[in-house]
């Protein structure tokens, strides 16, 4: 902890409550919600914080997730800081306004309490829901711990509202293992968060104002006239802001660390890569068990490391390449599938990173933790074994399904 950082109050709570506390500290003006497993207790906590007056915000209980985000877009256009949270089928129902939000350049934070998707019918954790919306133009950050959820929700607003970014941010935490996992968490002081976030910088480019009438989201595009170039300007602006967000996310994490003493890797965390021959790439709450496994194998003399991805969209290619360049072979542990590639989505991102940066190495796809399945230290040890085998030329033809025999 740095000399400047201020310790907060330590409490014991689960990930959903930590998210709600983080939201309350960020002081949104309007919160719209529709409950869904495993997000429900998050919005119940928020609702009680608003009822008790601890959070001075308008709470809208609407009839479904499509209305949740539509209502919040209206609120954002009126200058409000907004928040919501959803999971799985709720996110699916939110899809139409979800894809409009980044194009409108309306900053907000929405928690995805990640859940596997139908079908078969399931209510448990997995990253499939968030992965299905990875190319919609939202920033996606995945949390490893309960503390990181609280911290990242607050940091999310600073990233989203940065004048050079103006994009919505999903702060994702794993359904079940983090949403209901209880542990210690430090709650920063309100004054610290107020000072960190500064004055609200919501959407003054598009705020509805009778003194300054404008049309929001008019018909744009087609071949001819100003259409094509105007449409390209929108798209290019969005993609450039996404790319630039990597720098801002790093700055914001550094600022938060200086104020709180809590250093979360902003893009990619390199864990014990010094002298490592192989590494596993992780996302979210699975990372703790991967680090424990790494330590145990290191103690036995095996040269292994962990590469954790925090910011998944925009994908941190340079940071990833820096990590990958230190090993000879890698395995990617996805908690979701890419139907189109018969592997995991992050496996594809890793292959793209290797291709884009000219690195060459065996890169295995592991798919585990679907629908609430556990990825334990023992699973990670078997995954490391498979990556070592791949490093010596024994490459499996398809993905390895981690929980297939559980």
């Amino acid at each position: 902890m740095t000399a400047l950082s201020k310790p907060g109050k330590v409490v014991v709570l689960d990930g959903n409550e930590a998210a709600a506390k983080g939201v309350a500290l960020a002081r949104p003006d309007v919160v719209a919600v529709y409950p869904i497993t495993p997000q429900s207790s998050l919005v119940e906590h928020l609702s009680s914080l608003i009822a008790s007056g601890e959070l001075d915000a308008e709470l809208m209980n609407v009839e479904g997730e499509h209305s949740v985000l539509s209502a919040l877009q209206g609120a954002a256009l009126a200058g409000a800081r907004t928040y919501t949270a959803t999971s799985g089928p709720g996110l699916a129902f939110m899809f139409e306004p979800y894809i409009r939000q980044p194009g409108l350049r309306l900053p907000m934070v929405a928690s995805l309490v990640t859940r596997d998707t139908l079908t078969p019918q399931c209510v448990w954790g997995g990253h499939q829901d968030a992965m299905l919306v990875r190319e919609c133009g939202w920033i996606h950050m995945y949390c490893e711990t309960v503390q990181e959820i609280l911290d990242s929700v607050i940091m999310g607003y600073k990233v989203a509202e940065h004048p050079e970014i103006m994009l919505p941010v999903n702060v994702n935490h794993d359904g079940n293992y983090l949403s209901f996992g209880v542990t210690r968490c430090e709650i920063p002081e309100q004054a610290l968060v107020d000072d960190f976030l500064g004055p609200k910088n919501i959407n003054w480019h598009a705020a509805l104002d009778p003194e300054r009438p404008m049309s929001v989201d008019p018909l744009t595009g087609n071949a001819g006239g100003a259409g094509p170039s105007m449409f390209v300007r929108y798209r290019k602006g969005q993609t450039e802001a996404m790319a630039h967000a990597l720098d801002i996310i790093a700055e914001v994490h550094a600022d938060w660390a200086a104020r709180t003493g809590r250093h979360h890797a902003p893009l990619v965390e390199e864990y014990r890569l010094e002298g490592a021959e192989v590494a596993l790439i992780t996302l979210g709450s699975m990372t703790g068990a991967a680090k424990d496994c790494c330590d145990a194998l290191r103690a036995g003399g095996r040269k292994v490391g962990v590469i954790k991805v925090k910011t998944y969209r925009p994908f941190p290619v340079a940071a990833m390449a820096r990590a990958l360049s230190q090993v000879k072979a890698v395995g990617v542990m996805d908690r979701s599938v890419s139907y189109g590639w018969n592997s995991g989505p992050m496996h594809q991102d890793t292959l793209s990173t290797l291709g884009k940066t000219g690195l060459r190495m065996p890169c295995l796809s592991f798919i585990g933790g679907l629908a609430g399945a556990d990825i334990t230290e023992a699973h990670f040890e078997r995954a490391y074994d498979a990556v070592f085998k791949a490093a010596s030329g024994d490459m499996p033809p398809g993905p390895l399904w981690v929980n297939e025999k559980d």
Partner: protein
């Protein structure tokens, strides 16, 4: 690191108990993680909760397969679930139940038993078989991993839907004092 698995049935408050225990242990300066098993919450259905406690930060957010301690807050759930799964010889069992401990037919791995008539105490206090806070008292007495004072302080900070604070404080107190401790011979 000590790994604890809590077994019970939906409606007895196993998940709430794990949260209170986590709070009490954290208040005593320990690092602690509690993860509930994830089913649909139905009254009477078997539920489990996984806890780790250590003097250093805990990173694994996974279920528990080799418990050091089993806290079973229901007298009959062990008939439908193998609550001892993965326990190594020398383990501790904190069990809701009464009568002759020999009748429990415990496996040889259990070295220490704390037996508490939690249903009887809960019926006397709450008029319902809500055994969670009673069994927290039994847990403190049997394992010594947490103090009765820390548990009471955690309960004072908790929220109770089905019963009052005063009753829960009485429950944890009676659970602590009315637990029968037995050392068992471990079979290899």
């Amino acid at each position: 690191m000590t790994e604890i698995r809590i077994h019970g049935r939906g409606g007895q408050g196993a998940v709430l108990a794990s949260g209170l225990l986590a709070q009490a242990m954290a208040d005593e300066g320990r690092h602690v993680v509690a993860i509930p098993s994830f089913g649909f919450e139905r009254r009477g259905a078997p539920v489990a909760c996984f806890m780790r406690v250590d003097d250093k930060p805990i990173r694994a957010m996974t279920n528990i397969y080799k418990p050091d301690i089993i806290l079973c807050i229901d007298p009959t759930v062990s008939k439908v679930v193998n609550i001892f799964d993965g326990m190594a010889p020398g383990g501790i069992l904190v069990q809701a139940g009464k009568g002759d401990p020999a009748a429990l037919a415990l496996p040889g791995v259990v070295a220490k038993l704390g037996l508490c008539d939690a249903v009887g105490i809960a019926l006397a206090i709450f008029k319902r078989p809500i055994t969670n806070t009673v069994m927290l008292g039994a847990f403190a007495r049997t394992t010594g991993l947490v103090s009765l004072a820390a548990l009471k302080s955690a309960i004072e900070g908790g929220e109770f839907r089905d019963a009052g604070l005063k009753q829960n404080l009485e429950a944890v107190e009676r659970g602590y004092h009315e637990t029968q401790l037995l050392a068992l011979k471990v079979a290899a």
